[in-house]
């Protein structure tokens, strides 16, 4: 009987970060890259991400961007100066989520250090 396994899985699901689990690992890494390289005064284009992130192939990056946009973690807008280009910016939800995760990682790192 695998009731113990079910209980363990239930506890894992209940204790996990559901917000971050809805996106796949590549999309997570892409979001982290966007957050690390984004500056409000400097526009970030889809093309810039495809060329520089190195997270995956261009086609996969486009898919990941669609996932992040669907989950409300990035905002994609058409550039007013050149309608062929699309501007990407992280949303407040993404900032809150990464800040929360970063705080958790710092707490863990501090605990390991002690």
């Amino acid at each position: 009987m695998k009731a113990w396994l079910n209980l363990r899985q239930l506890i894992d699901v209940v204790g996990s970060d559901a917000e971050y689990k809805v996106i796949d690992e590549r999309s997570q890494r892409l979001l982290e890259w966007i957050m690390a390289n984004y500056a409000p005064e400097k526009p970030m284009f889809v093309q810039t991400i495809v060329m520089n992130s190195g997270v995956a192939s261009p086609a996969t990056i486009h898919k990941c961007l669609a996932v992040l946009e669907r989950e409300g973690l990035i905002s994609v807008k058409v550039d007013a100066d050149d309608t062929r280009r699309r501007l990407v910016s992280p949303t407040d939800r993404a900032r809150r989520l990464l800040a929360k995760l970063s705080k958790q990682v710092q707490a863990w790192a501090a605990a390991m250090k002690d």
Binding site: M1, L10, V14, S16, A107, W108, A111
Partner: protein
């Protein structure tokens, strides 16, 4: 099924029986504990005294029982429910059994419906399947319980708003208990990480 398979099934059934019994007893006790806690909180949350509470904690045990232990868990919560009815509320055996059966049928039916919708025999334990199971169970439980009370209890008058409140009470019970479990699990994890 061949003779060999039959033998294997019987053997595994025999070897699993003590464990299944253990899970049934465990869930029966958990159900009674949750019921007792609900009664302690009843002055604050009861809408219809002794019948409908806006925070019905045993609903959480019902959802967990089927997810963790399947039918053995449901048998446990039915037994717990019947025992509480007879021993604590002083209900007649037939009334307590019908209430226990109603609760068991509601969660079994909710589980079966969700498995059918997801085209699977084993419900995957994910956040979304738990949310869906909870929503279906709360609706079915309110309807089935309301109908049983309407039929068996001459004092209880069935009405849509009572059913809606019962559904809300079950839903809040599950959400609050899952929230508490989440806080507990995360605290234990942080404590373990800190200790290591």
């Amino acid at each position: 099924m061949g003779r060999g398979d039959e033998g294997l099934t019987q053997r595994s059934w025999r070897s699993d029986s003590p464990q299944m019994l253990g899970w049934s007893i465990g869930f029966a006790m958990a159900f009674m504990l949750a019921h007792w806690l609900t009664m302690l909180l009843s002055p604050f949350f009861d809408v219809v005294t002794g019948k409908i509470s806006l925070l019905y904690l045993p609903a959480f045990i019902r959802v967990v029982s089927i997810v963790v232990a399947g039918t053995a868990g449901v048998v446990g919560i039915a037994a717990g429910s019947a025992l509480m009815g007879v021993l604590h509320h002083g209900d007649s055996v037939s009334f307590a059994l019908s209430e226990a059966l109603a609760a068991a049928v509601a969660i079994l039916l909710a589980h079966w419906l969700l498995c059918q919708a997801m085209r699977t025999r084993q419900l995957p334990i994910t956040l979304w399947s738990l949310i869906a199971l909870t929503a279906i169970y709360c609706t079915l439980n309110a309807v089935i319980h309301g109908t049983i009370w309407g039929l068996l209890d001459p004092v209880f008058e069935i009405s849509p708003w009572k059913l809606a409140l019962m559904m809300l009470g079950d839903l809040l019970g599950v959400i609050v208990m899952f929230g508490l479990l989440r806080v507990f699990v995360r605290t234990v994890r942080q404590f373990k990480a800190f200790k290591n």
